[in-house]
Symmetry: D2
C-alpha cells in the first residue's frame, strides 16, 4: 500500500502516519519528493479494518497495491477452476450451454422446451421460479411449484437444472431441488444472500451486477467463497451505459480481464445483455471467440405469449440453428461444443 501525503502535510503529520502504520505492524518506506511525500507500507492490509489512515491529517490518498480478493484471485490459486454441475463441467475445453425460458410457466411447455434445447446441444436447463420483476404487478414466478416442474424436466431429459434464488429464506429449499443456484444481477451485492448460498454445497452461477465493476464482482465471489463454497461460475450479462439501442452493453473485455485476475470460469448471457433475440447470435459468437467458457440463452416455445422477457427469447428452431453456427467458432479457438 502507498500513502500519498498532501503537499501541505507537515513533518509532524508524516511522522504520525508512519507511527500509526508501524503500530499496526506495517514496515514503512517514506519517499520524499520535491512536492509530496509518499509512504510505502508493507504488511497485512486487514490490520486496516479498524483504522482509517486516509482520514489522518495530511493524508491525500491511499493507493492499494494488492487486489482485495484473495480466494477468487489468481494469487493463491494459479490453475483455472473447472466447476462441476452434477457431472456437467464449466471451465474445461468444452463450451457449456445453459438454455431455457426466462420463467417456468407450466409443466407441459417447460418440458417441451427442455427437450428441444437438449436436442440442440444444451446441457443445463434454466428457468425462473422466483422472478425479480421491476414491477410489483408483473408475474412473479411459480415458486416451489416451479422447482418441482424443473425437477421433473431433469428426469425427463437428463439435463442439469439451474434457477435463481432471491430470498435468504428460500436458499435451503431451492438448493434441495436444483444442481446450480443462480444469484441474479440485482442481488450481486445482497451480501446476506451471497453468504447463505456460500453455506450450501451447490455450485453458484454469479451474475455481474447491473453496474458492478469487475473488482466488485470478484468481491461478491469472495463472499461466497469465504463462506466455504468454492464452485462459482461468473456470468457477464451486460452493464448499464448511456447507450439505449441494446438493453445493456455487453462487456466482452470482461472475459480476458477475468481470465487474468481470477481462476473462476466465466460464461456470458447474450439474451439479457441485448434485450432482443435478434442480436443473440452475434453476441454469442463474439463471446465464444473472446474466450467465454459457456453461454446462457433464453429460449421459449412461444415468445409472444411468454410471461416474462419474451422479446429476448429465441424460438427452439432458431436456437438449434445458432448452436450449429457456434460449433465452428468454438473449434476456431480450440474449444468444442459437445455432442448433440
Amino acid at each position: 500500500m502507498i500513502i500519498v501525503m498532501s503537499k501541505n502535510a507537515t513533518k509532524q503529520e508524516i511522522d504520525n502516519v508512519e507511527r500509526k502504520l508501524t503500530d499496526l505492524g506495517f514496515k514503512t518506506h517514506p519517499i520524499t519528493g520535491e512536492v509530496k511525500t509518499v509512504i510505502g507500507a508493507i504488511g497485512d492490509k486487514r490490520a486496516l479494518n479498524t483504522v482509517n489512515i486516509s482520514t489522518m491529517p495530511g493524508v491525500e490518498s491511499l493507493v492499494p497495491i494488492m487486489k482485495p480478493f484473495k480466494l477468487a484471485g489468481r494469487e493463491l490459486r494459479h490453475e483455472p477452476t473447472v466447476a462441476d454441475i452434477g457431472g456437467v463441467r464449466i471451465g474445461g475445453p468444452e463450451i457449456t450451454v445453459i438454455a431455457g425460458p426466462c420463467a417456468i410457466e407450466s409443466e407441459e411447455s417447460f418440458i417441451e422446451t427442455a427437450k428441444k434445447v437438449r436436442e440442440a446441444g444444451a446441457s443445463i436447463l434454466r428457468g425462473g421460479a422466483f422472478k425479480p420483476r421491476s414491477s410489483p404487478y408483473s408475474f412473479q414466478g411459480l415458486e416451489e411449484e416451479g422447482l418441482k416442474i424443473m425437477a421433473r424436466a431433469r428426469e425427463a431429459t437428463g439435463m442439469k437444472i439451474v434457477t435463481e434464488v432471491v430470498d435468504t429464506r428460500d436458499v435451503e429449499m431451492v438448493a434441495s431441488y436444483v444442481d446450480m443456484i443462480q444469484i441474479g444481477a440485482r442481488n450481486m451485492q445482497n451480501f446476506r444472500l451471497l453468504h447463505e448460498v456460500g453455506l450450501t454445497s451447490k455450485p453458484v452461477l454469479l451474475k455481474r451486477g447491473l453496474a458492478a465493476t469487475i473488482e466488485e464482482w470478484l468481491m461478491a465471489a469472495e463472499y461466497i467463497m469465504a463462506a466455504g463454497n468454492e464452485d462459482i461460475i461468473l456470468c457477464e450479462r451486460g452493464i448499464r451505459t448511456y447507450e439505449t439501442s441494446t438493453r445493456n452493453t455487453i462487456d466482452i473485455s470482461a472475459i480476458p480481464v477475468i481470465k487474468e485476475l481470477s481462476h473462476l470460469p466465466i460464461i456470458v448471457d447474450p439474451s439479457h445483455a441485448a434485450g432482443s433475440w435478434k442480436y443473440v447470435g452475434a453476441l454469442s459468437k463474439g463471446a465464444i471467440a473472446a474466450g467465454a467458457d459457456g453461454l446462457i440463452i433464453e429460449v421459449h416455445i412461444d415468445p409472444p405469449n411468454a410471461l416474462s422477457d419474451g422479446p429476448q427469447s429465441l424460438r427452439p428452431g432458431k436456437f438449434a440453428q445458432l448452436m450449429d453456427e457456434f460449433r465452428p467458432v468454438a473449434e476456431a479457438v480450440g474449444r468444442s461444443m459437445g455432442a448433440r
Copy 2:
C-alpha cells in the same frame, strides 16, 4: 400505448396485432404513414402481463404513454406526502436532518455522537447495525446489539432512529426497534425485502440504487406501497458514472424530477455521494437550494478510527458549523431548519 410496426410489416401482420389488442380489451387506432404504420391502443396495460405484443411478427417497438408507477406517481395523488417519523416530519416546510455515524461501534461513542448532532440541530439519528460491506473481511456491524444501543440513544436524546435492514429475516425485529427502516442502495431492487418492509407500519427510507433510473426507483417505492406501506422517503445518494474524483456523482436534478413525477418526499445523502467529508458542505447546500426535503449526513467523533466510511464522515464540530451555514440557504428557498 403506441405500437410501431416495422416498415416491412405486411397488412396481415398489422391486422394480427390489431386483433390481438382488441381481444385484450384495447381500443385501437391505426395510423398509416408513408413508410410505417403505428397503432394507438387505449386500455389497461396490465392486460399485457400475459402477452408480448413486441414479439409479434412485424412489430418494431412499443412506446408506453403512461408511467408504470401508480401509487408512487402524481396521477392518483396530487398532494405531496409528508412522512411522519414518530412525530418528526419529512416533506413539510422544514428541512429535516438525519445524522450519525456510518456504523454503530460502541454505546459510549454512539450516544456521545447522538448528543452532539442533536445539539447541532439534527432530529433523526442514523447508525448502521447491519452493514453491507463490499468485502467479507470488513466489519459487518453489531446486529441486534447495535439496535439496543440505538434505542438507548433515542431515550438519551429524544431523537428518532433509523437503520438499514439487509435481510428479509430481520425485518420484523428491526422494525420493533427503530422509527424508520432504511433500504440501502444495493438492495433497491431486492424485491422480497421491499415487499417485507411494505408489510410493516414503519416509514421507509428508500435509497436510490447505485445505477438505478428514476423510474426504477419509483417502481421500487411502488413495491413497498403495493404491500400496504405508503410512508416512503426517497433518498438520492449519488449514481455511478465514469467520473472518479467523487465516489459517486450526485444527481441533483433528481430532486425537481421527483417533485414533478411523484408526491413522495426526497432527501439527499451528500456523504455517500461525495465519498469525502470535504465536499459535504457544498453538496448539502446545493441539495437544499434545489428543493430537497432533508439531508442524511455521516458524523463520527473520531473519523480516523471509524470502522466504516471514515473518509466521508464529518467531525461533530464541523457538522455544527455546516448546520449554521445551511440555515440561511434553507430560508432563501422558503424553508426552515428547525430550532437548535
Copy 3:
C-alpha cells in the same frame, strides 16, 4: 411522429397543436385516452426545423417514429456498402486488417513496421501524423513530414495508407497524401471537420465518439454523406463507462445493431478499446465472430520506446501470431482473412 399531450392539457391546447401541425403540412390523428391525448402526425419532419412543437402549452413529449438519418440508414439503401480504399475493399467477404504504430516517429522504424505488418497479412497501414494528445506537453506528431514518410512506406510495401486529420485547414493537404482519412473519436462531432472531409473524394474512417450513441454516430456519418462523400467506414473503439479495468468498454453489440440500421461497413479497434496489448487478441476474435468487417490494430517494433500509446501496441511477432489465430475465426463465420 407522436405528440403526447400532458394529462392537464386543455381542449384549446390540443386544438392549437393540431392546427400548428396542419399548418406545417402534417396530417394529424388525435387519439383520446382516459388520461391523456396523443396526436399522430404524418408528414415531413424537416418542417419542424423552424418550430418547436414540444414547447407548445400542454405538450408533454414528442416521440419520433422515423430514424433521423437518411443517407446512412437502410431505408433508402438496402444493400451493404463495400468501401474501396484504392483497391482494398472493406465490407466484402474478406476481413480487412489495418495495422501500424500509433504515431509515425521516423522513416526507418515506420517502414520496418510496415513491412512486418504487410507480411503478417495487413493490407492497410495506419500511422498518426497529427496526434490529438490529452496533454499539450506530449508528442504531437510529425505533421506533413509524417505524411511524406507514409507515402514512402506505401511505395515500399504496396499497402494503402490511412491517417487522422484534426484541423479543417489540413484536410485538403492530408487528402492529397493518403488513401483514407480518419476522423478520430474526439472529433466525431466536430461538424465542420466532418463537412470538410465530406468534400474530398477519399474514403473516411469514422471512429465512434468516446461517449457517442449509435444514433449520434450515424448522424456524424450523415454529415459526411450530406456533403457528398459516401465512402464511410465506421469504427467501434470502445465507449466510456464506469469500468476501469480496460481503458474503454468495447461495445461489441454495436456490430449487429449497425448492420441492422445502416448499410455502412464497420470495423473494430481493439487496441484503443482495451488500452492494453494483452487483450487485443481476445477482443479481435470476438469482433470478427460478432460480424465486424475488419480490424485496426496498433503495432510497434519497440513498444517501450513508442512516443505514444506504447502500452496497447503489439510487437510485430505477436501481431503475426494473432493474425494466424484470427484466420480460423473468420472462416468459422464465413469470412476470409486474405492471402498472407
Copy 4:
C-alpha cells in the same frame, strides 16, 4: 510516480526498470513487499514523454502521484483567478449571469431578448452564430452576420457578448467581434481549436465535454493556457449518464472539486444540463448554493418558434422571476447578484 512490478517480475526485470529510470534522471526507491516490488521514482515526469515504462517486461502498472496539469492547477497558483470580460468579472464575490437565446435568429428578436435579460440582471449576452447541430439538416447559424447582430446588441444594451467558435479558421474573426469566446462541449478535446483560442487575447468559456473527466477538462484548459491565454472560465453543463429523465446529469460536485484542484472560476449551464426549462430554476439555485461563480441560461422570447433548443429556453418573464429567486440564495452563501 510509483511503478508497480508484477508478482512474477524477475530481479533482472526490476533492475532494468530501475536502470531505465535512473538514466532518465529519476531517483529511485524500490520497496520489496512479500508478493510484489514497487519502485518509487522522483523526478520530472516529462522525461517519460519518450519512453513507456509501463510496457517494460515485468511492469504491472504506473501510479502517478502528481496531477498532470500545471498551469490550471493550484500547485503553482494558489489564489483564485478572477476573469475579466471587458469589465465584467467572473470568479469574484458576485454571481455573474450570462443569458440569451441558443441561436441568433434575427436582429430584432435578439436585441429585444438582450434588453429583457439585461433588465432582469444578466451582464453578459449569449447567442450562437455557429451552431454545432447533431443533424446536418438543422439550422446551422447566421455565421458572421450573427456576430454583427451581437455587436449591435452590445451597443444597444452595454452588455458583454459571448459566442461559440467551432472552426480554427474562424477564431481570429470571431475574436474580433466578441468579448469572450466559447468552446462547446463537443470541441473540448479539439486540441487545435484550443490552441488557436489560446493565441487570442479574449477570455475563453470552456465547456466540459459530454463525457469528460474533471482531469481531462483541466487538461483542455491547460492547452489554452500553454498557448498563452490564461483567462479561462470553466462551465459545467451536465455529463452523459444512463439516466434519461434529464438530457444530461448535472455534476454539481464538480464545483467543489474544481475549487480544490484549480484556481479557475467555474460557472454552470442548467439549460443544457436539464434539457427542459422546467428544471432550470432548481438547478440554478443548487449551483449557486454549491459555490458556482455564475450561470449561463438560455432565454428566448418565443420558445415554440426557436430555431434551436426551444424546449430548454425560458421566456424572459420567467427568467426575471428566477433571477429574483436566485438573489437570496446567493446572499445565503455570501455572494451577491449585482444590481438590477
